[in-house]
Amino acid sequence: MSALLWKDLRVNRLVLIIGAVLLLGPLLVGAGIRLYCLRRYGVLSEPWCDFWAETGVFSLGLSMLSLALLGGNAIACERADRSAEFLACLPPSRRLVIASKAIVVIGIGLLIWGIGLGVTYGAAALAGDVQEAVARIRGDALPAIAHTAVLLVGAGWLVSSCLSSPAIASGIGIASPILLFALLSVLKYYYGYEDLDMRFWYGTLAVGLGVTGFAGGVVHYLRRVEP
Amino acid sequence: MPVDPNSHVPIYEQIADHLRGAVAAGVYRPGEPLPSIRALALELLVNPNTVQRAYQELERQGLLYTRKGLGAFVAEGGERSARNGAAAAVRARFAEGIELGRAARMSPGSIRGAFEEQWDESTGTPEC
């Protein structure tokens, strides 16, 4: 199993690098600019606390892209270069293979969110009053970002399981939250469901569809015989 | 000794012929061990069962004997048996030639004549 995990991490190396850049980039670059300003001008436009909270949320938002890539790449990448056929000649059952991929995808997802939330709340807490800071920068965007992330990964993963193109899978993954939002908007404004709670429905459906997509992708992979 | 899989002579026969020739020429003397089946199979790149069949054939003809766990050894009368075997192989080749002549509707006289011509050419002194 550890060999499979190593292989899956290595196969997704580029995606992991992009993920690291999108997550840590804004934080490091932002902090660098602030330090420079501090040295140059002696004063900052906003407190550190705000900065960490804001940039943390921003990074997590940006990381949605890398999560979509991760989900879409997971299974289809080995079909694209046909290395899945090589793996099919080896003893590991399809269950083990998909388990390894799921662990990597979910693990990396949790890692990104762990770091992002850690910065948003942790560093912000060290610098000042977290709740206030988060409220000031409209950190209520966080739940929406989280729900979107689940949908992205789930949709990308499902398509990745069915097709052999990581690009299409990631693309559909990215498109899915937009489509969901558009669908709900149409229902609310065009069909006149005025009291439709967008926040609630978007959140519920995003998570629901994301988890279902993920499970569906696993089931489809297990039932399929061809690599 | 390369084996020719495309030849019409079965591979085990080719192997037997070669070993027979080697024994007749004195490369392997009576009592000396012959290559193991596995070693010969790997050297010639053929199925070990084929080598085993060749060895069985030669054992039947009295050219060699096998000792369980030790391998095959040239038999005491091995050299003589090898030469007899060679004689049989020569006759078989002659038989082929005769068949060829008959199929072409050559008379027995002309077949024999062809043989004698070839004999002179092969064994006579080369002309300048």
């Binding site: 060999a3 290595r10 270069d81 056929e85 | 495309n6 069962n49």
Partner: protein
Amino acid sequence: MSPRGRRSAEMGDDTMTSPAIEMEELTRRFGDQTAVKGLSLAIPAGSTFGFIGPNGAGKTTTIRMLMGMLRPTAGRARILGIDVARDPAAMKQRVGYVPELHYIYRWMRVGEAVRFCRSFYRTWNDELSAELLELFELDRGKRVKHLSKGMVAKLALLLAVAHEPEVLILDEPTSGLDPIIREEFLDGVLRTLCARQRTVFFSSHTLSDVQRLADTIGILYGGQLLAVRPTDELVNGTKRIRAVLPDGAAPARPPAGTIWQRVERREWLLTVTGYTPRTLDHLREHNPVDNVEIIDVGLEEVFKDFVRGQRVSA
């Protein structure tokens, strides 16, 4: 003789051991095309089976079904008694497979690929693996994408045999390889063969390789087995007969075992399997022939005549 009848003959007195590879009415359809039609075959443990047939005959499809990589439309395949559709993981522990096209992870180094595969097999032999790495002159640090085609083929063979499989399955193993690498490959396969009770099943276009290695040969055409015979019997027991017919005469009854025949002017050419002197008697008895010549044929001609005979009767 049907393949099943041949199976009993081949198994001889060792009927206590079940066959290493068993195919029961294996069928695969792609749309309205049937690639493999009700293939039934039993290969005893310890034998080497050569699978020959023209391109598109269904050899690769059959092998993929054997390895559980393609679901049969009908029928079953068992390797070492394990149903390949039901428990492929257990089967793959004991089977080595070398496909026709190699898709080893190109970013892996040779050493990494070896360690990767090693982790999955309980029976991996480190000594054998090191020995083969040296024999095949494979550089542990080189990435697969930088290896030549022949080197990749050798690596694939190493990964398939280093865990000492009881069954080795190869699909066109030496196609496109230069003569030197082909020899190294055959050497590698033989080392597996030489170990006790190892079964080898391979498909190949290189008929000389088949003659060297195979105990039994199966000829596949249009998804069906035309013949399953021991190699010697197929090659040495098949003869071409050239008979001369008198003016205006035609052949009346070709002897049993005729797989192909052709009449041109006064010459009647036919290829007969299972040739015995009785065949000649039968020929003379039932047909007006003047002159008869028996010609030895090699595996290539036998194979071609089987296929030609099928095409004529189709």
